[in-house]
């Protein structure tokens, strides 16, 4: 275990932001933290990163490097009047790292940014700022990265690119990554394990695919020729644009699709729909 948070609690006045939260990550693993807005994700990450102090509980990091943990909290905070090089220079200097031109180019290429770009960061897109933020977080080669809502505000292309980058960092550099989002689908395909935080309490944890599957309670089936199938109509499908929404579980969906195909229906897509109520509501446990 490279990282372990045990019984973390934090209150802001009378508001209990976190209540006895436990979380742990294995080396090289991508851990996801899902929670609705206001669940306490950023508070937990700020505690892990040492920006705020917990009222009780402990954080253990099994790393002895100069910088055991790096991170980005919400949108990347950069010196917008400086260039990418200027930002990397400032953030390197504060941690006693001398950034050479070679190191600068290496880091920029690693995060998918063009090292030759000379304009100030203010002109960068949000996706590019996220990548530069990640480059800063990677300075001094931390063993663990904490990324709070890194997809927030990114377009689909940006999200896809950032996914690939995180996967690459995890597989090639063996960096443990702890990542949060309120969008379940984003994390489910990226993470090895998932934690679900609701109203300051960790209500679920487990393998990402298993947890994701338990939250899938319906499927969006797209295609043609479904209406004439009696067995399909018996499932009480809800018509949506280009197809139907069928409420069932994962074990039954494959037989339903098989049956539909046998009866000549043309299926172009079957998309699992997560039920956030199942995932976020601890009363459903």
């Amino acid at each position: 275990m490279i990282f372990r948070a045990t019984n973390i609690s934090k209150s802001y006045g009378s508001l209990k932001a976190l209540s006895e939260v436990n979380l742990e990550c294995k080396k090289g693993e991508i851990c996801g933290l899902i929670g609705a807005n206001g669940a306490g994700k950023s508070t937990l990450f700020k505690i892990i990163l040492g920006l705020i102090k917990q009222d009780s509980g402990t954080i253990e990091i099994d790393s002895f490097g100069l910088k055991p943990i790096g991170g980005i909290i919400e949108k990347p905070a950069l010196y917008e009047y400086l260039t990418a090089y200027g930002n990397l220079k400032v953030f390197s200097q504060v941690q006693g790292l001398n950034i050479s031109t070679t190191l600068y180019k290496e880091i920029m290429v690693q995060v998918g940014l063009h090292p030759e770009r000379k304009d100030i960061v203010k002109n960068y897109s949000l996706g590019m700022k996220q990548r530069l933020g990640l480059a800063i977080a990677l300075l001094n080669k931390p063993d663990c990265l904490v990324l709070d809502e890194p997809f927030s505000g990114l377009d689909p292309m940006g999200i896809h690119g950032f996914h690939k980058l995180i996967k690459k960092l995890s597989s090639e550099n063996k960096i443990t990554i702890l990542i949060s989002s309120h969008i379940v689908g984003e994390l489910a395909e990226l993470c090895d394990t998932l934690y679900v935080l609701n109203k300051g309490r960790m209500i679920r944890s487990g393998q990402a695919d298993e947890l994701y599957n338990t939250s899938v309670s319906s499927f969006k089936i797209l295609g043609r020729g479904f209406q004439k199938l009696d067995f399909f109509n018996a499932l009480n499908p809800v018509e949506i644009q280009g197809g139907y929404l069928v409420t069932t579980n994962r074990t039954k969906i494959s037989s339903i699709i098989k049956e539909m195909a046998i009866h000549g229906a043309e299926i172009t897509a079957c998309i699992p729909q997560t039920d956030l109520k199942v995932l976020f509501d601890d009363e459903c446990l």
């Binding site: 700020k46 990163l49 040492g50 920006l51 705020i52 102090k53 100069l66 910088k67 790096g70 991170g71 980005i72 909290i73 919400e74 949108k75 990347p76 905070a77 950069l78 010196y79 917008e80 009047y81 400086l82 200027g86 220079k89 400032v90 953030f91 200097q93 504060v94 941690q95 006693g96 933020g133 800063i136 977080a137 300075l139 001094n140």
Partner: protein, 275 residues
């Protein structure tokens, strides 16, 4: 610490607001010079109207030394106001852009970070006053030449040109300590308020109140001697015939002590507070 200091200096040099601050100081300097150039003689004549009936004045009293003294008087309000705005901005802009979080996500001690802010603010303040002094002396002597200095301080005081020069130099040096006090206070306000506008308003109110408190007699020798507002005008003592060196040195020492206490409070609050 050295790395953090280097980074702070690099940031200040790259920020446009540093240039705006320097430009503002030179604009004030320029206005004083212009008004002196066009209206100075009239003001001097008005000031010396009664004396001219009884005494004969030789030479030009509207000279470089008088202009330098006039610019020196911007240490009352204009220069500290600009310094307080700029210095507090060193921290409030980091809160606004959340770069303070980003820096503290790196292996940087909170005390090192805020300590370097105070050190850089002190360096910046000293450099601004030195720059103001050098440009003031150069431009004033170039345009208006040298001459005897006439100062109205509990009556008219006249100083020969050479004596005026070192009195003005000493006044700038002691004035620097007063400017340091205001810079340190504004940075501590920034620690407390985080927001730029709130910090500026509080700093401006503090400056105005300080100037008002300076004139108030507390009817108590201790408060009249050691309350902070009574210490910020020590540079004016260089324009009395008998310079009270003991008082000046004591005032400087107490003011530096205040600076240390105030910056210490800022460091402790910054360390204890969550970001």
């Amino acid at each position: 610490m050295i790395g953090v200091l280097k980074a702070e200096i690099y940031k200040i040099l790259r920020q446009s607001k540093t240039l705006y601050a320097l430009a503002a100081i030179f604009i004030i300097e320029g206005f004083v010079l212009l008004s002196a150039y066009y209206q100075g003689t009239e003001i001097i004549d008005l000031l010396l109207a009664n004396l001219k009936d009884s005494f004969e004045f030789k030479g030009n009293l509207l000279n470089g030394n008088l202009i330098i003294y006039m610019i020196l008087n911007s240490l009352w309000f204009h220069i500290p106001l600009i310094l307080m705005i700029v210095v507090s901005g060193f921290l409030t802009s980091e809160y606004k852009d959340r770069t303070v979080e980003a820096v503290l996500l790196q292996p940087v001690n909170k005390i090192t970070f805020i300590g370097s802010k105070y050190i850089v603010s002190i360096i910046f303040t000293v450099l601004v006053v030195i720059l103001l002094a050098i440009t003031t002396f150069l431009i004033s002597y170039m345009i208006f030449g040298k001459g005897d200095l006439v100062v109205y301080l509990d009556g008219l005081n006249f100083y020969p040109s050479n004596e005026a020069f070192w009195r003005l130099c000493c006044a700038f040096m002691v004035g620097t300590v007063s400017m340091l006090f205001f810079s340190v206070v504004s940075l501590t306000f920034a620690v407390f308020f985080k927001d730029a506008t709130k910090t500026w308003i509080v700093s401006a109110i503090f400056l105005v109140c300080t100037n008002l408190l300076l004139k108030i007699d507390f009817n108590n020798s201790f408060w009249n001697s050691f309350f902070y507002s009574k210490l910020i005008d020590s540079w004016q003592y260089y324009f009395y015939y008998e310079i009270p060196y003991q008082t000046i040195y004591l005032n400087i020492a107490v003011l530096i002590f205040y600076c240390l206490i105030i910056s210490g409070i800022g460091v402790i609050v910054f360390k204890r507070r969550d970001l």
